[in-house]
Amino acid sequence: MPRYLLRRLAATFISLFSAALIAFLASRLAPGDPIRLMVGDQNVSQEVILQLQRQYGLDRPLLVQYVYFLRNALAGDFGTSYYYVGRPVLQVIAPGVIVSLRWQTIALALAVAAALGLGTLSAIRHNTWLDHSIMLFVISGISLPSFALATILIVVFSVRLGILPVAGLTSPAHYILPCITMAAQPSALLARLMRASMLEVIHQDYMMTARAKGLQEVVVIARHGLRNALLPTLTVLGIMAGRILAGAFLIETVFSIPGIGRIGVQAVVHRDYPVILAITVILSMTFLAVTFIVDVLYGFLDPRIRYA
C-alpha cells in the first residue's frame, strides 16, 4: 500500500503540472487582451496600456511568464487578480473554495444517499409499480438539464409558494434548492446503476447463504448486498465527480452562490489569468483527490483488492 500511495502521489503531481501548463497556454493564447478588458470602454492611451502591461508582466515572453508563474505557485503565491485590483489571488478564491466544497459535498452526499436508497428499493421491488415509478423519476432526472430544473424549483418553491429563498447561501434553507438541483442528475444516473448492480448481487449464492443462516432481509441486503453492489457505483461516482464539480458553475450562477465556479466564470470572461490558473490547479487537485479517495475506498470495500 505505501508503494501504491507514493506512485499515486507522483502521478498526481504530473497531472497537476500538465493541467496548469494547459490552462496557462489556453488562457494566454485565447483571444482577448486582459489589459484592454481591464480598462473596458475607457479611452486610454496606448502609453497607459503599455505601462499596465509592463506592471502586470504581460510584456514578457510566454516562457518567462510561465516560469515566473510556476516558481511563485510552488511557493503558494498565485499573484494578484487582474479583476479585483491588487487583491491576492488566494484571497479571491479561498472563500469560494470553502463555499463550493461545502454545498457540493452536501449535494453529492444527497445524490449518493438518494441513489443508494432508490436503486436498492427499485432492485428489491423489481418489476413492481414502485420499481417503475422510481425508474420514471430517474429518467426525468437524467433528461432535465440542471438550469431548467433550477428555474422550475425557483418558480415553484420560491416565487409561487414562497417557502424557500430564491438565491444566496446565508442560511440552511438556502442550501435546499441548489443541492437538490445539483444532486438530481447524478442521483438519477447512480440509481440506475445501483439498481442494475443490486439486481445482479441479490441472486448470488452468498446472498442465499446469508438468508439460509436466518439473517433478516434488511441485514442481508445492507451487509452483504449493498457492499458488493457499491463497487461499480463507486467507480462511476469517481468519474462523475469531475463532471459534477465542473457543472456546478451554472448552478452557482443561477442561485447566486459565491463559489469557485462563479469566480472561475468571471475570471474567464475578464481574462483574469492568475485566478484562472489558480482555479485550474485547485479544481485539478480536488478531482485527483476524489479519484484517489475512491480508489482507496475500493480497498476497504473489497478486501480482495489490494494495492501493491
Partner: protein, 550 residues
Amino acid sequence: MKPTKPASITLALLAVLLVFVAWPAQLPIGTATGAPSAIQPTVALAASMAPGEPKVVRIRYSRDPRTLEPGLFLELVTGYISKDLHAGLMRFDEKMQPAPFIARRWTVSRDGLTYIFTLRNDVKFHNGRRVVASDFVYTFTRILTPRVRAAAGPQALGKVKGAREYMDGKATDVEGLMALDDNTFRIVLSEPDPSLLLRLSTVFLSVIPREAVVEGEPRWRDKPVGAGAFRFVEWQPQVRVVLEANPDYFLGRPKIDRIENLTVPDVATALAQYEKGELDIVDVRGAQLAQVTRDPTLSKELKEFPRAQLLWFGMNQRRVPAFRDKRVRQAFIYALHRQVLIEKVMLNDRYLATGFVPAGIPDAAPGQQAYPHDPTKARRLLAEAGFPGGKGFPRIEFVSTADEATLVEAIVAQLKTKLGIDVVVRIAESGDLLSGMWAKDRWDMWSWGWSADRPSAEVWLYELIYGGLESNFVGYNNPEFNKLVDRARSETDLKRRIAAWQEAERMAHDEVPYIPFGFAKFLYLIKPHVRGFSADLLGPKRLENLEIVR
C-alpha cells in the same frame, strides 16, 4: 457489537460532513471593524418594516465592483457603489452641470490655467477627521502615481502642471496641486482643459484620507473610508457590499439606514428575488424585459431613465475600403429601419439615436433629426458609389455578442434585402469582440456601445471619431472634422464651446462614420415603498435622499 470497518468509515465520513456543514459561513474580506460581520442575512422587506427595524434598501448589480477606491477605474459598478461612499469637490446638478459639493465655490483664471476651490469646513471623513485641502493634493497625486495603477489618472489629470514629470518619475510631487490653506485648494494646468470641471464632478475624483490608505495598505480598498452619505460596513465578494448611513454627513443624515448592493449575475434570478421581495431595486434588460412588460404588476413598477450611452455599429474603413465613401455609409443607415428594430426586436429598451451625442448632454446639437428609413435613397446612394444593386460590394461579416444575436440577424436581413449585399453574422464572445475592436483589423462591422463617464460631447465626437486616436475604431479621418473638435476642446468660453461641439456633431451626423443606432436607457424595477430613487445620464443618483414609505 463491534462496528464493522465500512460502518466505521461511514460514521467517520458523516462526522466530517457534519463539521463541514457547521463550519462558519463565508467571512467577508473587509469589514469596517475588521471583525466578521454581525449583520444578519437580509429578510423580506415586509419583515423589516416593523417599528425600530433598520430601513434597508437592497439593490441588485450583475457583477462585483472591481474596487471601492473610486480613482482606480472608470468602471460602472465601482462608480455606482462608490458614489454613496465618497464625495468630491463637485457634483452634477439636474442639468448635468458642475455644482458645488465639498467645494463651496471656485474661480477660474482668465487664461484657463488656474482653478481655486474654496472648501466647506463642515465635511468629515467617516473616521471623524475633517476634510482639508491637502487631502485633495494627496488624492490626486495618488491617482497619478504609476505604482497605484490608476488607469484613469493620466486621462483625468494629465494636464495638471507637473503631472507628466511626476508620472515619469522625474519629480517627487505634482507641482500643479497645492493646498493654499486648509480651506483652499489650487490646481494649475500646463494647458487649458475645459473638461476639468466635468471630471472633478465625477465620483472618480472623490477625496480619500491619507491615514486610511497608509494604515490599511495594501488592503485598504477592502475597507474604504470616504466622506459620502454612507459608510462602509462590509464587502462579501460575489455576495454584497453593505453601506450604512453616515450620521455626520455634511448634507444631513440619509433617511434610510442601510444599503445592500447585492451581486446577482443572473437577471432571471434577480427578477425572481424581486418578485419574492428579496430585492427592492433591480435593473432590467434583455429577455426579461418582455416578461416584465407583460406582467400587470411589474410593468407598473418599471421606470426608465435616459442614459449617456450610444449604441452604434462600426464600419471598419481599414478592412472594407468601400466604407471610406460617405455615400456607402449613408446608404447603410438609410437602409436600416432602426425604429422598427428598436420597437419589435429590442422592445423599446433604447431610444432611437438622432445623432452621436445623447439627448440631455448639455452640448448635444438640438433639434437634430434621425436618419429616416429610406431604402430607395439607400439603393441610389449605393449605386452612385459604384455598387448598383449591391453588385461588387465585398462580403461583410457583422460581429456581435450572443445576447444581441437576434438584433444583428434582423439588421443583416434588412441590409441584404434593401441593398442586395452579402452580409453574414458572426457571434463572438464579448472579450474577443472587445479585443478585436481595439486591434482594428479583425472586424468588418460590429455592434458596441460607448458610455460616458462625464456629460460631454467629447466622449463620442472626440474619443470615437477624431482621426488618429486609439479609440477611433473605424479609421475615419477627416481633417475638417478634427479642426472643429480641436476648437471645441480648447475653447474656454462655455457658449462658444457648446456651439463648436454642436457644429462638430452636425458634421458627424452628415458623415456617418459609425451608424448611431440607439441611445440607451436605464430600466429599473423599483418597489413602490422605495421613494426617491432615480438615475441621471451617468447612472443611479446618490441615494442620500432615498426613503422607505410604508
